[in-house]
Symmetry: C2
Subunit: 233 residues, 2 copies
């Protein structure tokens, strides 16, 4: 079956969330005179991401968008790290940092190449408003902004992938998930999609853990331009 559409994970795969979030945390700390281990806070913030999404998928928490969930997990990690002195407005501002992330250097060029051959859509846990902010900021062109929001569940729930394919009018086997995260790819594969792995060695910062391609990927590369080459675009 020919691949017609590519679905992109966004945080980590297309944009460098850690550098952007860390820079805003540090700047906020300086502005408020708060000292803390901002790297641990950035990583701890992200570590609380999947568990809170799973609580939505499990029906333990009503669906809410990532701004709401990021606020809950920020409060949690700041508490765990003993950080006081950041008020409500400060925290809302930090939640907004996820709307102001920059791409990896290859992202824009990789997408342009891929768009000549495939229909490109985001398929992110970010809500539409967040994805629109990131795409406009970084001048990224997609054929469609699709979000887990449209299904009222979060990846890696199988329904999110199936719904994305349905919206684009393609069979699951005609769609390929492009992501830096094995869990996302394996869940997409279980839903019938194909898999392209992008190896983002710096997603977790210098010296941080690096994800390994899951077995059975259809394409892999160290950046999006390499993935485009592997897919013949």
């Amino acid at each position: 079956m020919t691949v017609r559409a590519l679905f992109f994970d966004v945080f980590g795969t297309l944009v460098d969330w850690r550098s952007g979030v860390l820079a805003e945390l540090r700047a906020m700390g300086e502005a408020r005179g708060v000292e803390a281990d901002w790297e641990a806070i950035a990583d701890g913030w992200r570590d609380r991401y999947l568990p809170i999404l799973q609580s939505v998928n499990a029906g333990e928490r009503a669906w809410a968008d990532l701004d709401v969930l990021h606020r809950a997990t920020l409060d949690d990690v700041l508490g765990a790290q003993g950080v006081a002195g950041l008020g409500d407005e400060d925290r809302e501002r930090l939640v907004g940092a996820w709307h102001r992330l920059d791409t990896w250097p290859d992202t824009r060029a990789g997408l342009e190449r891929l768009r000549s051959r495939f229909v490109l859509a985001t398929l992110s846990n970010g809500h539409v408003a967040l994805l629109v902010d990131l795409a406009r900021r970084n001048d990224l062109r997609f054929d469609a902004i699709l979000s887990a929001q449209m299904r009222g569940l979060y990846k890696p729930h199988a329904e999110v992938y199936r719904h994305g394919a349905e919206l684009l009018g393609v069979a699951p086997g005609e769609a390929m998930m492009v992501a830096a995260h094995p869990g996302d790819l394996l869940a997409a594969s279980a839903a019938g999609l194909r898999m392209a792995f992008v190896r983002r060695v710096r997603e977790r910062g210098p010296g941080g853990p690096v994800a390994v391609a899951p077995d059975g990927v259809d394409a892999a590369g160290d950046d999006l331009v390499a993935v485009a080459g592997a897919l013949g675009a």
Copy 2:
């Protein structure tokens, strides 16, 4: 309240459905040796559009995408016009004509100007796959492809407009519907959106009826570039 997002109707407002559909009907008639009043068939096909959408909104018909509904209304209008001799494949091909429409000459330039100032999204009764085909074919750039499909209802149902604003993360009053059809605009306005009217004098063909701007529009123009000017973009 400042307008942040523009929602675009597509058929008639951005693309010239009548010329494209008529050309494919005529070509099909020639290829099959079928003579008919193709203009009456094109207009009759479109006249059956709103009623079938209303039957979905009324719960009399399960939600189905425009390809399915266009097939039902095509069969109906061909029957009413006494046209035989077009088979199943021919009819599917004609349904596909709605995926191969061209824009009005000003559409692309108007959208480019408007995108410098506003977030642009489709808000069409066309399903996502259809809108993606039209945008790719005509090199149109939107920040998001939003469709009535995402709400499982059709315009002019108020929920479609509200859902669009919700997905973009704007209040209804921060969004403006841009359309050539008073019914679409008035329904958007009733849902709290603002209204921009595009006067498409040729939508119904040479000498066809021309829609008049409803009372209370926030902007109006004879094409999309004029609307951009009226909105300061």
